[in-house]
Structures are given as C-alpha cells and as structure tokens.
C-alpha cells in the first residue's frame, strides 16, 4: 500500500522529534517526491542548507536505516554514468516508535543481555561488534566483550539482527529487461510488477548465508570477509562499497522484518484466543512455530502445509500444550477450520495437512476495528447499515438498505451520506428512464475503507504525540505552583496518552504491516 497523506506527515513528525526539523525537511522531500539524488535535494533545500549538510543528513538517515542509496544501470551503449539516488524507507521510520516492542520480544525470547545489545543497535542504527563492545565498556555496568559477542551471535542466529544491506546496489535498467523478454508467453509469466522500493531492497539484501552468518569470525580470512568468493555472481556487481567498515568488521543492524513477523504471529494468536479459546490459541501458536522458518516474506497470506504429527510435536514442547492430548489438538484444528456466518475459517484443511490462513485471521481484527469506529462515530443505525453492506459485498439501493436495517426511510439517506463523505462508503447514482430522481446505490469497498482507516490512525497517532507534547509544556508552566495531586494528574494524563499511542500502533500494524 502506498503511504497515505497522514502517513507522510506522521513519519516527518517522528524524524523531527528524534533528529530535528533540518533532517526532517530532507526526509519530507524524499517522501513527497520519491527518490532523488543529493544534488537534486540540495537544489530543493538551498539556501537553507549547503550541499555538504545534505550529504551529512543523508548519511545520518542511512545510518539509522531510514534511507537507502541505489543507482540504475544506464541503457546499453549510453556513455552516461549511473547517478546515485536516495529512496526513503517509510516503514523503517514508522518502526522507530516500536523499538520498545522489539526489545520486549528479545527480552522474552532470549535474555536481557541480548536485549541490551539490541538496544544499542536500535538507538545507533548500525554498529560493528567492536563498537558494541566499546559501548558496553562505556556503560555503567559492563558485561564484557565475550558476553557481547555471544549475545550478538544469539541475535543473529534467531535473525533479530542482520548484516547491513549493500550500501549502493545497482538496479538493472527495467526497460531493457522487458525488451529482452520475447513473445506473449514470456509476458504472461512475468510476476506482478514490483515497486521501485521493493526492487531496491531486493537488490540490496544479501543472500541469507551472508545476511545471517552461522560462523562468527571477524578476520579477513573468515567466511564473512567481503571478498568475492562469498558473494553470488549476480550480486557482485552491486557491491560498489563494502558493507563493512574500514577495519573489515561486519556492520550489524536490527532486522525489522523478523520483529514484524514475530509481532504478526503474536497478534494472530491473540485474535484466535479471543474469538475461539485458549486451546485453539495454543495449537495455532505451535503451527506458527512450525511454519516460521519457511515464510519467504512477512506478509505471507498462507503458511506452508503441515501434518498433524508435526503440529502435535510442537504443541508438546510448550508448558501449556503438555496438558493437551492428541484428540483435543484434532478438535481444536476442526474448530479452527470451521466456517460460520460470524467467523471465517482460520485454518485450511487439505489432504491430511493444515495451512494457517493469515489473511483470514487478520481480516477479522480489521473488520472489528472498522465496525467499532463506525458505531462510535455514526451511531447504531449506521453500524447496522455498514454491516449489512459489508455482508452483501455489492451495490444496494437506499430503500433496500433501510428495509434490511429497519431504519426510517426518510433518515437513511443522511446517515449513508455522512459515511460516504468520510470515505467509508462508495456511492453510485443510477438514472432510470421514467424516474425523475436517480437512485442512489451504496457499497462498502474494503480497500478504500482500509486505506481511509489507516490514514486516520496515522493522524490519531500524530495527534496523541502532539497532545502529549502540549501537556508536557503545560506541566512545565505549572510545576512551580502545583500540588502533589496536580502532579499525579499530569503524570496520569501522560501515561494515558502514551499507552493509547502504544495500543493504536498495534492497530496500525494490523492494517499496514501484517
């Protein structure tokens, strides 16, 4: 999904709060205009910033994984050189407000020492092992270089940390690639066109063996060293600059993909626990563990097929799962595979295998979120109409909606128009010969509603952040005069605003990242 208007405004706000308005200005140009070269950015920002300042800002944003440099191969026969451009990674900017969620995952799955190493990478963007050790030495309670190394190894083994991507990958010229493909057959097997951001990230990301090395040596003879034998041929020409520092140490950064995957799985288990029961949630959690390593991308619609025995084996590994007998696990799978008028199937059973349907599970949470907003904002009658139209999945005329929702025919058009004005309904006019007044037809278009909701949630997150800043400003003004009671009140307000923003971010991930 392309970034919405308030997605951009929110991302710029995050950068402003963390790095200042000068940096966010550069970021905003990249967000609104797409990839630009440093010269182009410099022309846009002058005379407020010099060219060197722009370069420094771009380095800072790259350091914090918010921007990726790349270039496009000039056409065959052309004498022009490839210009380095910079593309903003909006998702990584939005991840910046989730760092404490990422830390919590590592603290729970591994240990607090690994959590401390991760925190170092999150706050600095990317570091070498040497820099992590230095950072540990400078801290109040150093744990020692061996502990740091072991922690980093665990983080890499679990894919929470990765080697940084190629600094300036070169993309092949897309027109030339397409021209090379001959005939309609070739055109048919071409996959869905990727966005430029997807192409850049794919080109920059090294193969898994390089990205998550098993062997953890740091000298130049090691398998990790940046010599050509480690790099597949297809990617060699993309490596203009080493993804390591001048001491040939590997540079590490948090692997946001893995954190989002874990949060996605966690959210799915919670959704199933709420809608079904604890037993089904335990079984689903086991299925997600079995299938995780096979997931090729985060937003995968379905898991790989898995057998009952592999699911049961995984269930037995957990403390909660040990109380479940095989028959109970089978019963849970039947429940998860059942479709009813109020819940879709969460698991698909086929040929003695079971597949997790992520899309189906997440759609339930999205539907609940949307309907709750419709109820609160437009009222109970609108809620009935919206649910009726969602179920119908097609255009329906005004009076038919009034009949189905048992609402006054004279009031129904106003209610529908309110929802339409705010982008929650799609409307069409139908002119019929002989009728002076056209019929109005209404429909819920899920894609449009989802995008509208997401934009509003970004807007709301921004509002929570701005209101918190506003309350803190007020706190400074009254602090000299305040009583203990007033202090408590102000702190409670701050807690409510922060915790609401924290929970709202979970909803944003359901609509955008999962």
């Amino acid at each position: 999904m392309t970034t919405t208007e308030y997605g951009i405004v929110y991302a710029v706000h995050i950068i402003t709060v963390q790095f200042g308005s000068v940096v966010s200005k550069v970021c905003e140009f990249l967000l609104r205009r797409g990839p630009l070269s440093s010269r182009e950015i410099s022309r846009l920002v002058e005379p407020d910033m010099s060219y060197n300042q722009v370069k420094d800002i771009l380095c800072l944003l790259i350091q914090h994984n918010c921007v990726q440099a790349f270039s496009i191969e000039p056409p065959d026969g052309s004498e022009s050189k490839a210009t380095v451009q910079y593309i903003v990674l909006c998702n990584n900017i939005l991840h910046r407000v989730r760092y404490n969620k990422f830390s919590r995952i590592v603290n729970e799955e591994l240990d607090f020492k690994c959590g401390a190493v991760l925190d170092g990478l999150l706050s600095n963007g990317r570091l070498t092992l040497g820099q992590l050790i230095e950072r540990d030495k400078d801290s109040g309670k150093p744990t020692g270089s061996e502990e740091i190394r072991e922690s980093l190894q665990k983080l890499v083994a679990d894919r929470f940390v990765e080697r940084i991507p190629s600094p300036e990958p070169v993309l092949g010229n897309k027109e030339q690639e397409l021209a090379k493909k001959k005939g309609s057959k070739a055109a048919k097997i071409l996959k869905e066109p990727e966005t430029l951001e997807e192409r850049v990230l794919e080109a920059a990301t090294p193969v898994d063996a390089i990205r998550f090395p098993h062997i953890f040596e740091q000298d130049s003879n090691s398998p990790l060293a940046d010599n050509d034998s480690n790099i597949p041929e297809g990617k060699r020409k993309q490596r203009d600059v080493d993804s390591s520092d001048h001491n040939n140490e590997v540079i590490w950064r948090p692997n946001f993909e893995e954190f989002i995957r874990r949060l996605r799985h966690k959210a799915c288990v919670e959704i199933v626990k709420e809608r079904r029961d604890e037993g089904c949630a335990i079984v689903l959690k086991a299925m997600l563990e079995v299938g995780r390593s096979h997931e090729k991308k985060v937003k995968t619609d379905k898991s790989v097929p898995m057998s009952l025995s592999s699911i049961y084996e995984e269930v037995m590994k957990t403390e909660a799962g040990r109380t479940l007998v095989l028959e109970r696990v089978e019963a849970c799978l039947d429940q998860l595979s059942a479709t009813s008028s109020y819940l879709p199937a969460f698991v698909i059973e086929m040929d003695d295998s079971y597949v997790v349907d992520f899309k189906s599970i997440l759609s339930v949470a999205q539907k609940d979120e949307i309907e709750a907003v419709v109820m609160r904002r437009y009222g109970k009658e609108a809620f009935r109409m919206f649910r009726y139209l969602s179920q119908e999945g097609r255009f329906v005329e005004t009076n038919k909606i009034a009949d189905a929702a048992l609402t006054e025919k004279k009031d129904t058009p106003q209610i529908l128009l309110k929802m339409w004005k705010d982008g929650y309904l799609h409307m069409q006019k139908l002119v019929v010969t002989g009728s002076y007044v056209p019929f109005l037809l209404w429909k819920v278009n899920k894609l449009i509603v989802t995008k509208q909701m997401l934009d509003e949630m970004y807007h709301a997150s921004l509002n929570l952040s701005l209101r918190l800043a506003h309350e803190l400003e007020l706190e400074k003004e009254v602090i000299l005069l305040s009583s203990r009671e007033r202090d408590k009140k102000i702190k409670a307000k701050g807690l409510l605003l922060s915790s609401t923003r924290f929970k709202l971010d979970d909803a944003i991930m359901i609509f955008h990242d999962f």
Partner: protein, 233 residues
Amino acid sequence: MDKRKRPDPKSLGGDINEQHEKKVLDMIRKNQGMGATTSELKSDKTIPPTLITRLVNSLKKKDLIREVPNMNNKGYKHFIAMEFQTSKELTGGDWYTDGSLDLSKIEDLKTKCVMILERQRHRHRVVTLDVICGYFDKQENLSVDQTKEILKNLILDNEIMEVKSNGLNEFAATRIGELCYKLAGKNSGNGEARAGTSFASMPCGACPSIGLCSPDGVISPGTCVYFQKWLDF
C-alpha cells in the same frame, strides 16, 4: 317585489357530479390496497381533469376514501377506499404504521428475543429458529418472516449470532444442521469498542471533525475539546 332566487349552479349538474364521483370511487376501489393517484384518476378521459380534486375532496369528506403517502415514492399520494387495508408497498413494510416506522415496537420485540436467549445462555443452550418463531407467533402474532427480520436485525446489531447445530454440547438438544441462535457474547461488544479495538476508544476514533483537524489548524490536538474531556479525570 320579491327577488327571484337564483338557481343553485351545483344542483344543475348534481346528477352528473354524482356519476363522476361514483366513477372515481370505483376506480379507487378497483385497486384495493394500492388505491389510485391523482394522475391515474386523471387518465380517465370521461371525467374532466379539472373536477378530479373536487371529487376526491368530496369523497374524503364523506369518509369513503383516505389519503396515504407512498413511502417509496415521496410526493405521490394514493387514495384508498376505507374498506381496504393499505398495501405494504405503500406503507413501506410490516413495521410501518401511518407512514412511520414503529421503532418502539421493533425495539420491544428485539429486547424480548434477547431475553429468551439470555435465559438459555445460563443453561448453556442455544435456541432454535422454530422455538423463537413459535414464541412470537403465540405472544405477538408475528409471522415467520417477521420473526426472521427481527433476528436478522439483531445479527446486524452484533447482539446475537446465527449458528448451525453440530449436535454436541450446547447443541445437544437440537438436530444436526438446524439453525440456532445465541448471544454474541461480551467479546463482540455489541459493536462497542471491544478490548482489542484501540482506535474507536480514543477521541479521534469517534470524532466527526477528524477531516478538519490539523496540527496547526483551528481544530488541532492542542485545542481539541474532545481531548480535553477525555483527559479531564
């Protein structure tokens, strides 16, 4: 000299008018519950169109016809003979009385339905469609279709859910495949913001002016009255 009384102009054509009136009444009666509109009456070439309004008013005064608005086509009025019940097509449906939706009746029926399901929930049982239809037929004189409409409305309210019996546990007293109903449960929240719905439970989620709100605008998070109320604890 006595002034000669002028003859009453109406009495001269009285017989003709009575005939026209009878014709109009026949046309209206012919269509029973649907009656006839002014334009339909005017389509009869034997009656002067200019007389139609007078004839209709006369019939109304004599309490032989009544005027009913068409709920589906506003601006059209139908004249219906008093002997006939107004057709559902004109009233808008079973739940309309005198052109208005009988909301209190509908809410009352819905409440009763929920109470039936509430009683069975304590016994960990569902209620079949047959049982609900039987109850409303006896107590409220509702048809099966009317009962189904009430149930559909409660489903849209997210207060109840429709399930198919599998013969086990809460479905033990029902046939496999039979349509049953039960309360949606607290987790569904009856459409209210449930535990997992975070956006609806904060001011911006319910705000009708979110489209007008901006960081530095007249309506902004700093000046927002909804935020003020929400934080005023």
